[in-house]
Amino acid sequence: MTLIPVEHVLIFSLLLFAIGLYGTLTRRNIIGILISIELMLNAANINLVVFAKTTSLSPETGQVFAVFVIAIAAVTVAVGLAIVLALYRSRKTIFADEVHLLKW
Amino acid sequence: MTSHLLSWITFTPLIGAFVLLCLPKRAHDWIRWIALATTAITAGLVCLAFPLFRASESGFQLVERAMWIPQFNIQYLLGMDGISFPMVFLTALISIMACLGSLAHIRVKGGREKEYYFLFLLLETGIMGTFLALDLFLFYIFWEVVLVPMYFLIGIWGGPRKEYAAIKFFLYTLAGSLFMLLGILAVYFGSEPRTFDMTLLASMKYGLVFQKIVFLAFFLGFAIKVPIFPFHTWLPDAHVEAPTPISVILAGVLLKMGTYGFLRFSYPLFPDAARWFQPAMGVLAVIGIIYGGFVALAQTDFKKMVAYSSVSHMGFVLLGLAAMNADGFRGALLQMFSHGTITGGLFLLVGVLYDRAHTRDLNDFGGLGEKMPVYAGILIFFSLASLGLPGLSGFVSEFLTLLGSFQYSKLMTGLAAIGILLAATYLLYMIQRILLGKLNPKWSSLPDINYLELSTLVPLMIFILGIGLYPKIILDYMIPTLDGLLKTMGGAV
């Protein structure tokens, strides 16, 4: 029904991923990093859905994996935020560049 | 369960050990009771073997065979015959007694019970395996498994010089077992097709020179364990420094592994070499008997005296083995059993006294017979058993040994008889110094033996008395196998 080319969707997801990656690499706030990671995961999900339709696999496969990714994303967020809270409580900061105990 | 009875016997202690590992450190009561229950269950399994074991047959029974490492034709091969059955039974018995002994003793020593009982049960598995393995490779592994827990048990829970004693024990035995390993490999590469299977190896014929060399290698391994005269110096140190229950295991069971090795491997595999070395073994046995006796006489440390008496008594086992005839073998095997029970009991008694007085200096005691009448009675009982009083098991075994050795060499037997006299001397001298005479006021408040300690000793006494009064019950299990062994060695029964 829809008639946009696959390339366009892929380029879109690439851009989304790039934006997410930029955020992950540059945001100081750890929650910000987590949010950015969500973006990247979503970009990957879009790709999964699209690729499933472009190959000979049954189209459900891609969506099933997308569901798995979503579940893992939830896990990431849950554990990540728990770490953030623990970190905040112990060090009074949630800036990634201020936590560098393992520095040389 | 009965189809793999021997495996169950061997590995039940190990299962118990791992159950202990899962328990929290502080659950002292649980740890103790589970350890005790494990030894009891193992003993129960050994008792299960009685109806299954056909005493009148000489071959291996209840055999379990499985390929283990096919590349080298190494098998998991367990089996029991009239030689190993008494030893397995002895192990189960002594383990329970030692475990009961540990209940009081290790608590006194302060903590780390979990590790202690874990190692203890591991040790039991090793000993059981040693007595049941019929594959040389498997045998070697169990042999070494025994070494490691023993090292830690002496090294951690021992007396003031425990590190020295533990290292000495470990190095000594390890050196011996290395020679044995070389011997095992030599046998393996000398067999065609290559195998570690003892039942197959026994039917092969080797050249005399080869036999002699390999026999010597095995001899070193076993001789250190027994211990035979020049290799015995680890024994007093290890016995004295080890905690009481471990001394009991050491003297009661571990020493027998050496002489068991002779009967199980050296003799059937190298009968010609055994005959060639017969005089040497006899001489070493007699030296051990007299030498151990004299040195025991000079001791002022109770435990050391018992330790040296072990050297002397194990000399009788060797003498019986050296006789290489029916009576000698029977005496030797019976002596292995009865020495296990008697010396085990004596070490327990040393422990009882040490726990109360915190000294083992014989000259420091005196007149305890008045304060501790029950203890005195039991100590006298075990001493008499040890010096071979008729009616107790030590007499029957020494008598059979002497009867056997007399048919081999009159001179050696005559000299060994001095050992009997020496045993009476040092044991009675010990009794005189501990129990008789005036009471040293320092000990006027020593309590008599308690029920827990009594429970470790009474079963041993029952066995000593039972065998002494009617030795046929146990000898009937041993004789067919020993006669079979003698036949394979080409001797007349």
């Binding site: 790039a18 540059t26 929650i31 973006l39 999900n45 339709k53 472009t54 459900e60 967020v77 | -």
Partner: protein, 171 residues
Amino acid sequence: MEILTLAAKIGAYALMTGVLLFALGVVALRNLFHSALCLAAALIGIAGLYLFFRADFLAAVQILLYVGAVMTVIIFAIMLTEHLSGKTTIQHNRQSLPAFLGIAALVTVIAKVILQTPWPVTQKALGAHTSVEGIGTALMTVYVFPFEVISVVLIAALIGAVIIAKRENPS
């Protein structure tokens, strides 16, 4: 039909553009709360895209799980640490430039690959319908093992998160 198709097409591109813009917002906004809101918007947009791809179930999951659950949690966390996400503090670190350059290179490379690859599929396929039933069947048959593993991971993460976030006993 033509018009409808065109409208749908335009809608799709608009959706994509919107999502990208919100995504930029997520990354660029100083106020973390705002960027979280942007993320929510972007996620909803992506859910719309799923609908467009005829992945209705996934869209529903996206809305329910992401927007409903995950976003709530994130916003809670933001609020708990609020005073640090104020406007005055610098929200980006010093490696913006190398990051940007690297990402630009990545985009170039991948885009080139995408454009060079001859995608074998007709555009029709993108719109092919997938049934919820099919997904369910796949989850319970072929992918039942990963499914179970995921649930175990979820449980573990749940417990782990609780333990990590729990206030230490003052013992």
